[in-house]
């Protein structure tokens, strides 16, 4: 479904992505992990052109995403994107967040869009909050509305950029459950996350990145039990024993 071919990206002189060659199959759930600054968010943001690339190609269903003739709005309408900071539109209700784009872009009638939005909010367990504003929702609820908003465009592919990193710990579970349900429905998902339990349970494949390179690609089982790359081994040690990593006695 997605193919990276020799993708390179620079921020000025700093190279953020180095020779990325990767394919993601239809229906696959891929978790991207790695230390901060490793390029994982950059990678996922190149898939819907939030970040431009300077070398190589990214193909989505055979189409060159970054080709100048590719309409960026059409491309993005077909890719769901969920942000770390939720980014709900605060002047609109949960329901209106989910109807805005379908009405404007798919030409849905208001009532059809609302019906769809309600069923999506139901799916993320928030139909009772349809008329709430973002300021009236918890972080976990905001993120679930954001997922429903992305789903409202009926995208075949969903991208998640650290969807639980801005959440209080007790709200992480509800968001991960929602994503897990999407995986069960056979949707193609690319998830940047530090939630190793989630990766283990839901992912078909784990990509480990550092310094803009994909250093390791493995099944979750392989990755967590016997990572090959020394940097991946170190990373797993650090996230399992944060006190040791910080040089502090537990």
């Amino acid at each position: 479904m997605i193919a990276f071919e020799n993708v390179n990206k620079w921020y000025g002189k700093y190279q953020a992505l180095v020779d990325i060659n990767e394919t993601i199959a239809q229906g696959e759930v891929v978790v991207v992990c790695g230390p901060s600054g490793s390029g994982k968010s950059t990678l996922i943001r190149t898939i819907n052109r939030l970040e431009p690339i300077q070398g190589g190609r990214i193909l989505l269903l055979g189409q060159d995403i970054h080709a100048p003739e590719q309409s960026v709005n059409t491309l993005r309408a077909g890719i769901g994107f969920v942000f770390q900071q939720f980014n709900l539109f605060p002047h609109l209700t949960a329901l209106q967040n989910c109807t805005l784009a379908p009405v404007r872009l798919h030409g849905l009638s208001k009532s059809a869009a609302e019906e769809q939005a309600l069923s999506l909010l139901e799916r993320v367990g928030l139909s009772h909050k349809a008329h709430a504003y973002a300021s009236e929702l918890s972080g976990g609820q905001q993120q679930r509305v954001a997922i429903a908003r992305a789903l409202a465009m009926r995208p075949p592919l969903m991208l998640f950029d650290e969807p639980t990193s801005a959440l209080d710990p007790e709200m992480v579970g509800e968001v991960l459950q929602t994503i897990k349900a999407l995986a069960r429905d056979g949707m193609t998902l690319v998830v940047v996350t530090h939630e190793m339990g989630f990766a283990r349970e839901v992912a078909d494949r784990v990509l480990f990145m550092d310094h803009g390179r994909v250093l390791e690609r493995a099944t979750p089982e392989e990755f967590f039990t016997s990572p090959e790359h020394p940097r991946a081994q170190q990373f797993l040690r650090d996230i399992r024993s944060p006190f040791v990593a910080a040089g502090v006695a537990p």
Binding site: N48, L50, V72, N73, T74, L75, R76, A77, G78, I79, F81, F83, Q84, Q85, F86, N87, L88, F89, P90, H91, L92, T93, L100, A101, R104, L105, Y133, A134, S135, E136, G139, Q142, A146, R149, A150, M153, S165, A166
Partner: protein, 232 residues
């Protein structure tokens, strides 16, 4: 005095002559606001446009106007513009052009700041859904930004009301000009005349401020206030 000159103060020589006085001031201020706001909005959007061909000239215009006293802009409109276009506009329209250009430049900066103060994720989220730049601006960013801008906008509107008094120097018969006329005719009551004039401006500006304050409070007690920005 009030009996003799009250009506003159309010409407000038109208209906026997051209409209003037307080009525003309109100007309000038309202027309100025109504025209400056959309122009300021467009200039503000131009200031942050991703297209350089639009952004640079607009930025240049805003900088030039902001670095110029309004009096100078009025002179330009009065002396320079007719010699450039060959068309002699009347005093009212000359003053209106000067006010609109001058205020639009300031409003543009308010609009720019209001939009740029929103979290960057709002534009990204809107664009990620497939909305175009203009749609995202109109449906997602501006509705939020305008609410934040309200106090600054009102500030500028109040200034506009006071700025109409500069019409005096090109002989526009607005309320300050009329008050001076009355003072010349009466000669012995300058304190009363200019206190009345001052009070007149105060009532107009204070009224607008209160109206805005009421509007602001209404907007902020409604539930759709923006969420606090979440930190990672």
């Amino acid at each position: 005095m009030l009996e003799q000159y009250g009506l003159y103060f309010l409407v000038g020589l109208y209906p026997k002559g051209p409209l003037g006085g307080l009525a003309l001031t109100l007309l000038l201020a309202s027309a100025g606001l109504l025209l400056a706001m959309p122009l300021g909005l467009l200039l503000g959007l131009g200031r942050i446009s991703p297209w350089r061909a639009l952004r640079w000239p607009v930025t240049g215009l805003v900088f030039v106007v902001r670095a110029t006293p309004l009096l100078m802009v009025v002179f330009w409109a009065y002396f320079f513009l007719p010699s450039l276009t060959g068309v002699r506009t009347d005093r009212f329209n000359t003053m209106l052009i000067a006010l609109v250009v001058f205020d639009a430049a300031y409003l543009a900066e308010i609009v720019r700041a209001g939009i740029q103060a929103l979290p960057k994720g709002q534009m990204e989220a809107a664009r990620s859904l497939g909305l175009g730049y203009v749609q995202a601006m109109r449906l997602v960013l501006l509705p939020q930004a305008l609410r934040h801008m309200l106090p600054s906008l009102v500030n500028q509107f109040v200034s506009t009301i006071k700025e109409t008094s500069l019409g005096y120097i090109i002989g526009l018969a607005e309320v300050s000009f009329i008050a001076t006329q009355i003072n010349t005719l009466v000669f012995v009551l300058p304190t009363q005349i200019y206190l009345t004039l001052g009070l007149t401006y105060f009532v107009m500006c204070f009224g607008l401020s209160r109206l805005a304050y009421w509007l602001e409070r209404r907007l902020s007690t409604s539930p759709h206030r923006p969420a606090k920005e979440v930190t990672a």
